[in-house]
C-alpha cells in the first residue's frame, strides 16, 4: 500500500500561553481543519530565559501550535496567525511537508 501524498504547509507557531485562546479562535475562524498544541518547557530569547518549572500561572510560559494546512488555504490561515502574533512575542515558521488523505487539511 503506497498512499498518494500531497503537499501541505506545516505552520509552527510559538506563542505565550495567555494569548493561546486568541490564536485558537483566529485559527478556527480562518478555516483550518485541525491543529495540535505542544508544551514548551522553557526557552531563551531577547527577553531572557524562562522555564515552566514551578510556575503556577501561565504568564511565563509558551506553547507551540502545529498546524498542517492545504496550500490553497495556507495564505488565509497565515494572515490570521500574523494578525495575532504581531501583537505578541511569538515566532512563526512555515515549511512544506507531504501528507496523505488530502481532505483532512
Amino acid at each position: 500500500m503506497t498512499m498518494e501524498t500531497h503537499t501541505a504547509r506545516r505552520i509552527e507557531i510559538i506563542i505565550e500561553t495567555p494569548a493561546l485562546r486568541t490564536l485558537r479562535r483566529a485559527l478556527e475562524r480562518s478555516g483550518v481543519k485541525g491543529y495540535s498544541i505542544l508544551p514548551i518547557m522553557g526557552g531563551y530569547g531577547r527577553t531572557g530565559s524562562w522555564s515552566r518549572e514551578g510556575e503556577v500561572g501561565m504568564a511565563n510560559s509558551m506553547v507551540a501550535v502545529l498546524c498542517l494546512v492545504a496550500p490553497d488555504r495556507a495564505d488565509a490561515v497565515l494572515q490570521a496567525v500574523y494578525e495575532v502574533v504581531d501583537r505578541q512575542i511569538g515566532v512563526v515558521a512555515v515549511s512544506d511537508s507531504q501528507v496523505v488523505r488530502r481532505e483532512r487539511f
Binding site: 505565550e16 500561553t17 495567555p18 494569548a19 485562546r21 486568541t22 527577553t47 531572557g48 530565559s49 524562562w50 522555564s51 515552566r52 518549572e53 514551578g54 510556575e55 503556577v56 500561572g57 501561565m58 504568564a59 511565563n60 495575532v84 501583537r87 505578541q88 512575542i89
Partner: protein, 323 residues
C-alpha cells in the same frame, strides 16, 4: 514594642518563612532545584480550595454578618482605586513608561492569594479569628484592578476586543475560592468533619512546600530581571504595600471588622497579584514588560509582605481595634 518584636521574630523564624527563604537562596545560588509545574499547580489548587472551605464553614457557624455587602463593595473599590494611587506613585518615583506603570499598578490593586493564606496562617497561630466571608472579598478583589490598569494605559478599542473578559471573571482562583466557600457554607461544620483530615491537618505543611516553590520562582525572576529594577522601583515595591495595607486596614476598621478581619483586609490591599493579572497583561498590554511587573510583585513585594508586612498590618490592626 518588645511584644511586637517578638511577634516579628516568631514570624521570621516560622517554617513557612524559612521555606520561602530556602527557595530564594537556592534560586539565587543557581542550585539545581525545581518543583514540577504540576506539583506547584496542585498545591495552589489545594490551598485555594482549603481556604475557601474554611471561610464557608466559618460563615455557616457565625452567620454572614451584616457587613458582607459593604465588605464586598469595599473590596471592589479598593481593587479598582488602588491602581490609581500606584500609578501616580510610579510616575513620580520610577521612570516607567505609561504602559509599564499601568500594568504594574494593576498588579497592586489585585491580590495575591498566597499572601492571604500566609496571613491567615499567622493569625491562626496567634489564635486570632477573622470573618469567614473575607474569602469572598478576596475573590472580588482579583479582577477590578485590571480594568483600571487598561483605562490608565489608554488602550485602543481595536486591541481590547482581544481581552478575555470571561477568562478574567471566571479565572481559576476566583472559581475555586468562591466554589469552595459555597461548599463549606452549604455542608457546614458537620459535613466537613470527614474531610478535615485532608484540608486542615496538612494545610501548613503544604504551605511550606508551596512557599519553597514561590522562593524558587521569585529568585529566578530576580536573577533574570534584577537589572530592570531601578532603586525607585524597588522603593515602590516596599512603599506601595505599606500604603495599600494602611488603606485596607482603615477600610476594614471603618467597616467594623474584627481585629483579624482588619489585618486580613489590610493584607489583601497590600498584596500584589502574580497569577491572574500578569496573564491578563500579557494579552491586554503586550507592550508592557513582564520582567518588570512580575519581578516587582513576586521578587520584592511578596517577600516584603511575607517577612515584615503581614506582621505590621496585624500590629496596626490590633492598635486600631484595641484587639
Amino acid at each position: 514594642m518588645s511584644e511586637a518584636l517578638a511577634l516579628a521574630g516568631q514570624n521570621l523564624l516560622s517554617p513557612i518563612v524559612l521555606s520561602f527563604a530556602l527557595g530564594l537562596a537556592a534560586a539565587l545560588a543557581r542550585a539545581e532545584l525545581s518543583i514540577p509545574e504540576a506539583m506547584a499547580k496542585a498545591m495552589s489548587i489545594y490551598l485555594l480550595f482549603a481556604i475557601g472551605l474554611k471561610g464557608g464553614i466559618e460563615v455557616a457557624s457565625q452567620g454572614m454578618g451584616v457587613q458582607i455587602a459593604t465588605g464586598l463593595a469595599a473590596g471592589f473599590m479598593l481593587s479598582a482605586l488602588i491602581p490609581l494611587l500606584a500609578y501616580a506613585l510610579l510616575r513620580l518615583m520610577s521612570g516607567l513608561s505609561r504602559v509599564d506603570a499601568a500594568a504594574v499598578a494593576g498588579h497592586y490593586g489585585s491580590i495575591s492569594i498566597v499572601t492571604f493564606v500566609a496571613a491567615s496562617s499567622l493569625l491562626q497561630s496567634f489564635g486570632i479569628d477573622f470573618e469567614g466571608w473575607l474569602v469572598a472579598v478576596a475573590a472580588v478583589m482579583e479582577a477590578p484592578a485590571i480594568l483600571t490598569a487598561l483605562w490608565l494605559a489608554g488602550r485602543s478599542d481595536r486591541t481590547s476586543g482581544a481581552l478575555p473578559w470571561r477568562e478574567i471573571a471566571l479565572n481559576g482562583s476566583i472559581v475555586l475560592l468562591l466554589g469552595a466557600f459555597l461548599i463549606g457554607w452549604i455542608a457546614g461544620a458537620d459535613g466537613m468533619g470527614e474531610i478535615e483530615g485532608f484540608f486542615i491537618a496538612p494545610f501548613k505543611g503544604v504551605l511550606c512546600l508551596f512557599l519553597l516553590d514561590m522562593g524558587l520562582i521569585a529568585g529566578r525572576g530576580l536573577r533574570n530581571s534584577a537589572h530592570l529594577l531601578r532603586p525607585g522601583l524597588i522603593s515602590f515595591g516596599i512603599l506601595m504595600p505599606m500604603l495599600g495595607g494602611t488603606i485596607g486596614i482603615l477600610t476594614g476598621w471603618a467597616l467594623g471588622l474584627s481585629t483579624g478581619g482588619v489585618a486580613i483586609l489590610g493584607t489583601l490591599a497590600a498584596s500584589a497579584s502574580y497569577i491572574a493579572v500578569p496573564a491578563a497583561m500579557r494579552v491586554a498590554l503586550p507592550a508592557a514588560n513582564p520582567g518588570i511587573y512580575l519581578t516587582l510583585a513576586l521578587g520584592i513585594t511578596f517577600p516584603f509582605n511575607l517577612a515584615v508586612g503581614i506582621t505590621l498590618y496585624l500590629m496596626l490592626a490590633r492598635w486600631l481595634t484595641g484587639g
